[in-house]
């Protein structure tokens, strides 16, 4: 609120109306709907639903399949987050060192940001094509008979690789801008205080990048959990079968394909709680993170 805000009555209401009505219809209504139907069992023939209490949740907790998907999601998220952050940090640090050609490298390393996840998945399919994919051939060359879509672990590896490929640019952009916002004199002071470049990185640069890192950590976890939907859907070619899938993908498969509205809604609610927890965690981190200025 600005000190000298306008006092007109009707205008702000008019200004807020479009936003509020859209979120009411397309956010609050569906969210409430999901919570509501998670307590019901829908009749498969569409003749209404029965209240079943927390049965849907209990079913999930007891479902070995759900737990398997949850475990895969966890591993997938950890791998994707770790590799895309580490790779991007390495590239950003190097790009920040460079004076000549810095702009060309920035362009070369960020364009993938604009590639849609399912298109990235499609590219993955081409690269891992069973009969002539360059990456399949590379794997064969080192004695690894890579079978995308057949072997669970191979498919999972390919998914992680594609998801990392797609995410490195975003992290790169943020890390680079974080590096560039470290005041030049502070780096020069470090240059006088510490002769080892590695020492300077771990003592000065890395701690000063920590706020960017925390922020990116949350972004990457969210990405691995939700935004990789397109990657997975394309790479399993719409046929989940025995292929690896994440929790979000299972919501879609059970609800849209399996017509299990109650179970799918319960899964949605669990994911909502997960996001909520992540967000709260993020806010607490931001609160606690040292304000350096």
């Amino acid at each position: 609120m600005k000190r000298a805000g306008f006092t007109t009555r009707w205008l702000p209401i008019l200004l807020l109306l479009p936003q509020l009505s859209i979120i009411a219809i397309f956010f609050y209504w569906p969210a409430a709907h999901a919570v509501h139907s998670s307590f019901y069992l829908a009749d498969p023939f569409g003749f209404g639903a029965t209240y079943v209490g927390v049965d849907n949740y209990a079913d999930l907790a007891g479902s070995s399949e759900y737990l398997k998907v949850a475990r895969f999601t966890l591993i997938f998220t950890l791998l994707v987050t770790f590799f895309s952050l580490a790779l991007a940090l390495l590239l950003a640090v190097k790009a920040d060192n460079i004076i000549r050609g810095a702009k060309s490298y920035r362009t070369l390393l960020m364009w993938v940001y604009a590639v849609a996840p399912p298109v990235a998945g499609f590219i993955g399919l081409i690269m891992f094509n069973q009969s002539w994919g360059p990456l399949t051939e590379a794997a064969r060359a080192i004695g690894w008979d890579f079978k995308l879509g057949v072997n669970f672990n191979d498919t999972a590896t390919a998914m992680v690789l594609v998801a990392v490929w797609k995410q490195v640019p975003v992290n790169f952009i943020f890390f680079l801008s974080g590096l560039q916002s470290i005041p030049k004199p502070v780096r020069e002071a470090a240059l006088i205080d510490n002769r080892s470049a590695r020492g300077r990185f771990w003592d000065v640069t890395f701690p000063l990048l920590a706020p960017t890192g925390f922020f990116l950590l949350i972004i990457n976890i969210t990405y691995a959990l939700f935004d990789t939907f397109g990657v997975i859907d394309t790479m399993v070619k719409g046929e989940p079968g025995n292929n690896p899938m994440t929790l979000v993908y299972k919501v879609y498969v059970d609800g849209f394909r399996g017509n299990d509205m109650g179970g799918s809604s319960a899964q949605s609610v669990i994911l909502m709680l997960l996001v909520l927890a992540l967000t709260i965690f993020q806010f607490r981190l931001i609160e606690r993170r040292i304000h350096y200025t």
Partner: protein, 346 residues
């Protein structure tokens, strides 16, 4: 401690800009040298070349008896105080001060003792466990000083260290830095655009303009005998009055009027005189049209026109003055002559 010598040092940036023209000078052991000049004159570039933060295009730089052109900043045995202090925001004051020592493999107990000593010297003892963000500007400035002092370097470098402080604090820190340097006897190079800092702190001043040295000298030499009109007008507030005059019949005259002083020569010449070297007197040979009287408590500055040229006069508080016509006398011994075209002192 060390003597520093610059031998034909030159800096050309990759884009072809010559930031520092060929320059040579020596800094004596324990001397406080101030590099002063307007922004973009090359003074910071010069300092940063001494620090090793900037490559030296040509020439030779010696600190002590070593040629250090290609020595890493960390190995030059220097300490630097930056304009924005450049404190490590994530480290406490204690770690900030001790960081350079730690990297030189100093034992922890020695570091602790040295940090304590430096903190006492700078009145920072109560703040050792704070982060820079919890300190005031003056305290941050002191931490930056502590970081330099604790290292016991052979050379201190200061890059406009006081420019972010308010006037009162700046005055106080000026005295503190000078006293500290006296006490430690460390050779120092201090860069500033503030001529008051230069005058009050330096043993020796180098005035730079457009990448070139205009004058090297003690504060008194620079003030009283400026080598050029640039130095004359850059040093001193208000600056030296510069008047257009001519050599006429063995005399220097303004607008063909009263002879100012005997001198041989011909054609136009620039006459310089400090505002305090002229006096307001009814018998004065020159007319002075006072337009504004600037009251400064201890003294007054009278701004107006002398022979249709702007002129400023410094008078003591006991001299009454109001706008209007007056007469002035310019002390002949205080007059300085400069070449009209080159600006060089004659």
């Amino acid at each position: 401690m060390a003597q520093v010598s610059l031998n034909n040092i030159r800096k050309i940036y990759p884009n072809g800009v010559e930031a520092v023209q060929q320059t040579s000078f020596d800094i004596a052991d324990g001397e406080f040298l101030v590099l002063v000049g307007p922004s973009g004159c090359g003074k910071s570039t010069l300092l940063r070349m001494i620090a090793g933060l900037e490559d030296i295009t040509e020439g030779e730089l010696r600190i002590g008896d070593r040629v250090v052109n290609h020595v890493d900043p960390a190995d030059r045995d220097i300490a630097m105080v930056f304009q924005n202090y450049a404190l490590y925001p994530h480290m406490t004051v204690r770690r900030n001060i001790g960081y350079g020592l730690k990297n030189r493999k100093t034992p922890a107990d020695v570091i602790a003792a040295k940090v304590r000593e430096a903190a006492e010297m700078l009145n920072l003892t109560d703040y050792l466990d704070r982060k820079p963000s919890q300190l005031s500007g003056g305290q941050r400035q002191r931490v930056a000083m502590g970081r330099a002092v604790v290292r016991d370097p052979s050379l201190f470098l200061f890059d406009e260290p006081l420019s972010n402080l308010d006037a009162k604090l700046r005055h106080q820190m000026r005295i503190e830095i000078k006293a500290l340097q006296r006490r430690l006897g460390v050779t120092s190079v201090y860069v500033t655009h503030d001529q008051v800092e230069a005058m009050t702190m330096a043993d020796k001043i180098i005035v730079l303009n457009a990448g070139r040295i205009e004058q090297i000298g003690t504060p008194s030499e620079i003030y009283h005998n400026p080598a050029s009109t640039f130095v004359a007008s850059f040093m001193g507030a208000p600056p030296m009055n510069l008047l257009d005059a001519r050599f006429e019949a063995g005399q220097v005259r303004i607008n063909g009027g009263t002879p100012l002083l005997p001198a041989s020569g011909s054609g136009p010449v620039t006459v310089g005189i400090r505002p305090e070297d002229a006096e307001l007197t009814p018998e004065g040979p020159l007319g002075f049209d006072i337009q504004i009287v600037e009251e400064l408590g201890g003294h007054r500055l009278l701004h107006g026109q002398l022979a249709d040229q702007p002129f400023t006069l410094h008078v003591g508080k006991e001299v009454e003055a109001r706008p209007g016509a007056a007469r002035v006398n310019l002390r002949p011994e205080a007059l300085r002559l400069f070449d009209k075209t080159t600006g060089q002192a004659l």
